[in-house]
């Protein structure tokens, strides 16, 4: 597995070991890109900072919390309304953001008084919200404000409120990943074990590393409810602050995004003996396996199997409709940290696409290891990619579609590669059986967009086809398919609604099994 040297990066030899091509028959022992090292200044890397890793990725999905950043206004403003983590309390945490708005005089004389006053004002503005997370920024870290002391002081004066403090300044570590780590550890140190939750089922889990992008968590909660599993807390999407204080009473930690949240699972295991079960909820087979594993842990595999059978029967014909049309399409799977390995093998197996490249902005070598092992031979793997390398890779690989962030998606657009938002999704949720079909539908709509086809035509040079007034996706996608597939009565396109969550929220469940005295 030789290192891949980009033309555009020949002048920065440090980059040499950050990209590899997975050769035929090679395994990971021959080469693995370096990962999670300091960024090369000026390389126009896509990485963010440790503050955003803590506040924006993990902190803010907590729904019933005033999220206050202690620093100048930019950190707060910039990490506001750029994500799609929704909640069932009318998206309080998406709509509102709070800052101390530190100014020059505070930098000189200290900003602790300002902080205290801002905390009190914020609670006053939202009298129903009694919980707060405070996030340190570069500025407040450098001037050395003691945020913890102020939080303690306020909690003494206002006994009805509870405050969590996360000290993760932007400069802490090579990327946002440093912030994931810090907030995991801060939460378990400060908050876990401070509330005793009510245990109402013999099967109790924490659902960890799930951020409820476009409602993923709602989808998964449906499965857990159907299995009679009590979800004590979700870390952190749609999670409530107090439920997350009771994480220590779960029987099992079900871990989704290991990159951002394995730390707290490992600590919960060490401190409270709670086992960790890693799952992938993206994909039919992977999700089935995940529910089965959870079922096995509790001895309720039959319940998992019932869901798997029902959902598979409902959605498989729709998944396969897309698979027939996506087969062999080339994908650059360029997400943040964990989706390269969550998705690489599943999108190949279940959508039929070929992953020609994976990259990770803030992943560690372990993420790369998993990602490379799960993608196709010949795939190009890049750690901490930068603008020019991304363009060079697209030029070399000629992908049919790219899954990446919003802004890099705009870069791809200019070289005529359609993009799907890997972080926030196009029309999600993408978890669950239905969600996975929605993902396939989004890929299909991206690749077979008639406008995309028009973008490739140079009217000054090419022959302009004048025989058509329009094209449909089907006219493009079905032209080389066999009659058997195009006229199949089994396969069908996605039949769900634009909003697939509102029906879920109306569902009722049989309730939990009684908790036996010895099990409690």
């Amino acid at each position: 597995m030789p290192y891949h040297e980009f033309e555009c990066s020949k002048c920065i030899p440090e980059r040499k070991k950050h990209a590899v091509i997975k050769g035929p028959g090679e395994d990971l022992t021959s080469a693995l890109p370096l990962g999670y090292l300091n960024t090369i200044p000026g390389s126009i890397s896509e990485r963010g900072c440790a503050y955003c890793g803590a506040k924006h990725v993990i902190g803010t999905p907590m729904k019933d919390v005033i999220h206050l950043s202690h620093g100048p206004i930019g950190c707060t403003y910039d990490t506001w309304q750029t994500k799609r983590y929704i909640s069932d309390n009318d998206n309080f945490q998406i709509k509102n953001t709070f800052a101390t708005d530190m100014k020059e005089k505070h930098v000189i004389f200290g900003a602790e008084k300002l902080l205290k006053q801002t905390i009190i004002e914020a609670f006053k503005a939202f009298p129903k919200i009694k919980r707060m997370s405070i996030y340190q920024t570069c500025a407040s870290a450098l001037i050395g404000d003691d945020i913890n002391a102020i939080a303690e002081e306020v909690m003494e004066e206002m006994p009805e409120v509870d405050i969590f403090v996360c000290n993760s300044p932007g400069f802490g570590g090579p990327s946002q990943s440093g912030g994931h780590h810090k907030i995991n550890i801060a939460w378990i140190n400060q908050k876990v074990g401070t509330i005793e939750p009510e245990i109402i089922s013999p099967y109790v889990i924490n659902y960890v590393g799930e951020y409820n992008i476009q409602g993923d968590q709602h989808v998964m909660m449906d499965f857990f409810n159907r299995m009679g599993i009590q979800v004590l807390s979700t870390f952190t999407g749609n999670g409530s602050y107090d439920s997350l204080r009771g994480m220590h009473r779960a029987h099992l930690n079900v871990l989704e995004c290991a990159r951002s949240a394995e730390y707290i699972c490992n600590e919960l295991k060490k401190r409270y003996g709670i086992p960790r079960l890693d799952i992938d909820a993206f994909g039919f087979g992977t999700l089935a396996e995940a529910l089965r594993k959870i079922g096995m842990f509790f001895g309720i595999e039959d319940r998992a199997q019932a869901i798997i059978d029902e959902e598979t029967a409902r959605w498989k014909p729709e998944l396969d409709w897309y698979k027939e049309r996506l087969r062999g399409k080339k994908v650059c799977l360029w997400p943040g940290g964990s989706k390269l390995w969550h998705w690489a093998h599943v999108i190949h197996d279940e959508f039929g696409v070929d992953v020609v490249s994976v990259y990770t902005k803030f992943g560690h070598q372990g993420d790369m290891e998993k990602g490379i092992s799960r993608c196709e031979e010949g795939a190009l793997a890049i750690d901490d990619p930068n603008e020019l390398e991304g363009l060079e890779a697209m030029d070399m690989l000629k992908p049919d579609i790219i899954f990446t962030g919003k802004r890099p998606g705009e870069v791809a657009k200019k070289v005529r590669v359609p993009y799907l938002n890997a972080h926030a999704y196009h029309n999600g949720p993408w978890k669950g059986w239905e969600g996975w079909v929605r993902f396939a539908r989004d890929i299909y709509n991206g690749i077979y967009s008639p406008i995309h086809q028009l973008a490739l035509l140079d009217i000054s040079k090419d022959d302009i086809p004048t025989d058509k007034g329009f094209m449909t996706q089907r006219m493009l996608s079905d032209k080389d398919l066999s009659e058997e597939i195009t006229s199949s009565t089994v396969l069908r396109q996605y039949t769900g609604k634009y909003d697939c969550l509102s029906e879920l929220s109306k569902k009722t469940y049989p309730g939990f099994d009684p908790v036996l005295a010895d099990a409690a």
Binding site: D101, L142, A455, L456
Partner: protein
């Protein structure tokens, strides 16, 4: 006085109107050709600003970071700037201009970016890049001072200060637009063309709306050149449309090179556009042509169709960049509307003395509040808890939920407007902008009337 100007009484911010200074400097940097800025600070200061700009324009822009990590924060991070300059120059052969934009962290640790520039000029650039034209411009934009608005103002001044060089006087006019959209630049250039005025537009950002071509890679970028900037010293005059976004540069050129400056007004609405044309005439001696009389007539005709029938007495709240918000408020008054709340979102103390604000105070005949150092909670709280009734909200997308949750129609205007498609293509300045803005307002009110079944039948005939 029915119009009160007051500062927000709370200390902290709930739902900010602006981001911080480095964003303004970054926005300026992408307007200059062959220029990629280096933001000296944590990576988020760049990553999120690039995202924000890309949310607004649906395009990607190139800005680099010095990627300050822990060691840099402790021991100083000037070496990161040196490395960043070298890496950028090696990999982007077309780059000629590199502004070094400071942030809160690097200002607090006291990194001497001016010193780094001196060192690089004497060392790296001389040795490794001899014969290559490279300009390094230190721009100090600590995030704990001002806002993105002042960051923009400072960066324009610093670019102009760095490049402006008196040689032979020419007949060109400097037009400093302030923080606008490509559609505004198009509209302004149209007015200049109609008046046959040769002007240097700072900044030439029409290509922020760039094409998706069947070949090549058309990255969005501004087109203001080094020659444009150096030539500003030789112009016959400068008009800075926005007092708080480019005013500093205009005054610098006047003081340093005797280039006469006119600062403001923002040409939003008919009246301010008239004034702008008059200013153009004054500085260049060019007459206002019949074509513009006609264009103005079309706009006036369109406004007459909607103003006293539909817009009169409508209560609006306006927030955003100060020149934009003030300009829109002035225009609303001409349209017989009532701008009852104006939110200016930073702690600039000069707003109090702004003549336009003083004019509101002297002449407005209904209760009007102007809040400085404001946040969006000043709006939300008034609606939710103080019974403020509004017919319309005008502002950027960050305030969208105040409109949505309170069932108040909203017209997106300013920066950023990411929750609506293509707004950057449309002007709010000039006669075209006046027409577009007023028609956006009235159509938005019409849609709201229909959704709420509030006299929607009135639109059958008008």
């Amino acid at each position: 006085m029915l119009c009160e100007v007051k500062e927000k009484t709370r200390t902290g911010i709930i739902n900010p109107i602006f981001t911080c200074q480095p964003c303004g400097a970054q926005f300026v940097s992408i307007g200059v050709k062959n220029c990629v800025g280096i933001v000296h600070g944590g990576q988020g200061c760049v990553m999120f600003v690039r995202l924000l700009i890309s949310q607004h324009f649906k395009e990607s822009f190139e800005i680099a970071s010095s990627s300050v990590h822990e060691d840099g924060a402790v021991f100083g991070a000037c070496s990161r700037v040196e490395e960043a300059v070298d890496v950028l120059l090696m990999r982007y052969p077309h780059i000629k201009v590199i502004p070094i934009i400071s942030t809160c962290s690097t200002e607090i640790i006291g990194d001497d970016i001016d010193g780094v520039v001196t060192k690089l000029n004497a060392g790296l650039l001389k040795e490794k890049y001899a014969g290559r034209e490279v300009h390094l411009i230190p721009i100090h934009t600590p995030s704990f001072v001002g806002s993105m608005v002042s960051g923009y103002d400072i960066a324009v001044r610093d670019f102009v200060t760095y490049f402006a060089k008196k040689t032979e006087p020419d007949k060109k006019l400097n037009l400093i637009t302030g923080w606008v959209n490509p559609g505004d630049v198009t509209a302004l250039k149209h007015l200049l063309a109609e008046m046959q005025i040769d002007a240097t537009v700072l900044f030439e950002i029409e290509n922020f709306d760039s094409p998706l071509m069947p070949y090549g890679n058309f990255v969005s970028h501004g087109d203001t050149t080094i020659e444009d900037l150096s030539g500003t010293a030789n112009a016959i005059g400068t008009i800075a449309l926005n007092r708080y976004e480019g005013g500093k540069a205009a005054l610098y050129l006047e003081k340093e090179f005797g280039v006469p400056a006119i600062v403001g007004p923002t040409p939003i609405g008919i009246r301010n556009t008239d004034t702008f044309l008059q200013n153009l005439k004054t500085l260049t001696g060019r007459p206002i042509p019949e074509s513009l009389v006609r264009e103005r007539g079309i706009a006036i005709d369109a406004l007459t169709d909607i103003t006293h029938m539909f817009l009169a007495d409508k209560k609006v709240a306006i927030y955003g960049n100060p020149d934009l918000a003030i300009g829109i408020a002035e225009f609303c008054l001409d349209l017989e509307m009532r701008p009852v709340l104006l939110l200016l979102g930073d702690d600039n103390t000069n707003y109090q003395n702004d003549l336009r604000i003083k004019a509101f105070q002297e002449n407005v005949d209904f209760p009007m509040e102007i809040i400085t150092n404001a946040d969006l909670w000043e709006l939300e709280n008034r609606i939710k808890n103080d019974g403020l009734e509004l017919d319309l909200i005008l502002g950027h997308s960050k305030g969208r939920f105040s409109a949505i949750d309170n069932n108040i129609p909203m017209v997106r205007v300013g920066f950023p407007t990411y929750d609506r498609a293509g707004l950057y293509r449309h002007p709010v300045v000039g006669y075209a902008g006046a027409m577009w803005l007023a028609e956006q307002m009235v159509n938005t009110i019409f849609t709201d009337m229909e959704y709420k079944k509030n006299k929607e039948w009135i639109l059958n005939v008008w």
